[in-house]
Amino acid sequence: MAGVTLDTVRKIYAGNVEAVKGVSLGIKDGSFCVLVGPSGCGKSTLLRMIAGLETISGGAVKIGDRVVNEVEPSDRDIAMVFQNYALYPHMSVYDNMAYGLKNRGTPKPEIEKRVKEAARILAIENFLERKPRQLSGGQRQRVAMGRAIVRKPQVFLFDEPLSNLDAKLRVQMRVEIKRLQRALGVTSIYVTHDQVEAMTLSDQLVVMSGGQIEQVGTPSEVYRRPETRFVATFIGSPPMNILPGKVEGPGRVSVGGQIIAVTDMRDGLAPGTAIEVGLRPEDVQAGTAGASALTMDVDFVEELGATQLFHGKVAGADFVVQASTGQIAADAKSLTLTVEPGNVHLFDPQTTKRLGRV
């Protein structure tokens, strides 16, 4: 087993496209790291550099203690699961899984043992003789996983492995991947743009944007204390509401004339400074007017079953409130909102960085 270390890794594609702009990251041995970010932010590029499928334009990639910049993919001791599964179409499921072992000269009985074992874990024992085209999407996904685990590599790499599955199967496979990774204890790097996958799977969550890392942390750290406005609005669903506000004094900001108390606020901000106030839809309480209360004009309500989403405007900005069904009358035209001081996030409108305690 080995951890993975990235040191100011850069990727410049032909035509001077800088897809990855100096990423540094340490992934602990045996941990599950998820790279999440919007489309085109360079997640796949980064993963493919770790795999050795793209050349590294700058910086260093280390697997364990070894710099692998110049090492062939086959010699990096990694396994990768692709979005389209990339199974060998002309080989049976058994041969698909055995291929990597055969290439490495593993003895036949050992190959058979490992393939059978992997097939048992993944519940694909009955398909070993089939060709990939005779399998469903979910089964192909399992074969791709099987192909990765039989090799017992140092690192698993996943590039959006679940995005071709339907919603239900995706949830099921997500749980299985997590369980499998726990059981095998292999360092895993997983790329996705689905933030639910990112939150549920990761020990270490890496949020990327525009070829750079925005924030690294455990899922709950990233959720509780987003370091930038980008992370704040990217992680969490529905996304965090951002309202324009002003600094009133230590621990106090105002939005549309209403004063709001804040726990996590940078010291020494001059009163009157413009500031962005972030409130998660699930953190605001609707109820009777209170001391520091915001007024929301409701436009419409979305029903999600267990919860309802109230869409409207607060202080001229779009705002969403999430509440348990029945908690608020669905025909309410106007809501009075309160929020715990601990759940208020402040951001600098210029740098978009968090203005929390240092």
């Binding site: 795999a51 050795g52 499928l53 062939e72 993919p73 086959s74 990096r76 990694i78 396994a79 990768m80 692709f82 979005q83 389209n84 990339a86 199974l87 060998y88 179409p89 002309h90 291929y99 990597g100 290439n103 490495r104 060709k131 085209r133 192909r147 090799r151």
Partner: protein, 293 residues
Amino acid sequence: MEKRAIFSSRTLPYLLLLPQMAITIIFFYWPASQAIWQSFLMEDAFGMSSEFVGFENYRLLFEQPEYYRAMVTTIIFSSFVALFSLACSLLLATQADKNLRGGETYKTLLIWPYAVAPAIAGVLWIFMFHPTMGTLSRPIRVIGIDWNPMLNGTHAMILLILSATWKQISYNFLFFLAGLQAIPKSVIEAAAIDGSGPLRRFWTIIFPLLSPTTFFLIVVNIVYVFFDTFGIIDAVTGGGPAGQTTTLVYKVYADGRLGGDLGGSAAQSVILMIIVIALTAIQFRYVERKVQY
């Protein structure tokens, strides 16, 4: 997906089919039926009259040692051309698939030979390999080979194989390149991660995945060598020396046109026709069933 056009009148679709049908009938069915009929007739020595002789022409044909020789020649010729042109074009296509700088120019240049008429291609190769005038004959003689395709049957055959191969590479190249580009990149990448080097990757992944293309091309190439090399043979060797490069299709011409044996020539055409129909039938069955993934 199936596309259907709805015609309001019943005659219009037939009218639209007419030109194609006319061409097929005039240039294929009619001559073919003529050949079949002709193969059952025998003419007298002066070509004045002919009588129905049943399968006599076929019987005589199969008694000729020259016919078997032409068959062997054809088999040698077509196997070498098919093998060489497929191997060369596959090699070129794998290189062209690598996204190298100047790749587009390279691809275009490789396609040009296909636009050269067979007879012109033949003349071109004569210019290079003519025993006395050929630009490349001298260096060959210098290294101690008594190069003379005009007198030496083996040399003549080598020259034919080279020119026919050269002509066919472009065609094969295009199909192989398309075939290669249809293989998902991630499959190749997965194999690379699975510890398979470039050569092993080629033989265990790429080549098997290209097999539908390869099979199609083998049939097309055999048909090409059987029929379309007539122009090249006529220009380069004229079937000689001493009939050593006379293939089945060239023998049809030599016997019928030069030898005046119309019945025998027609019988040979009919046999060739049957061979091609069989090849095509095999191809359709095989391509439709077996090789699909």
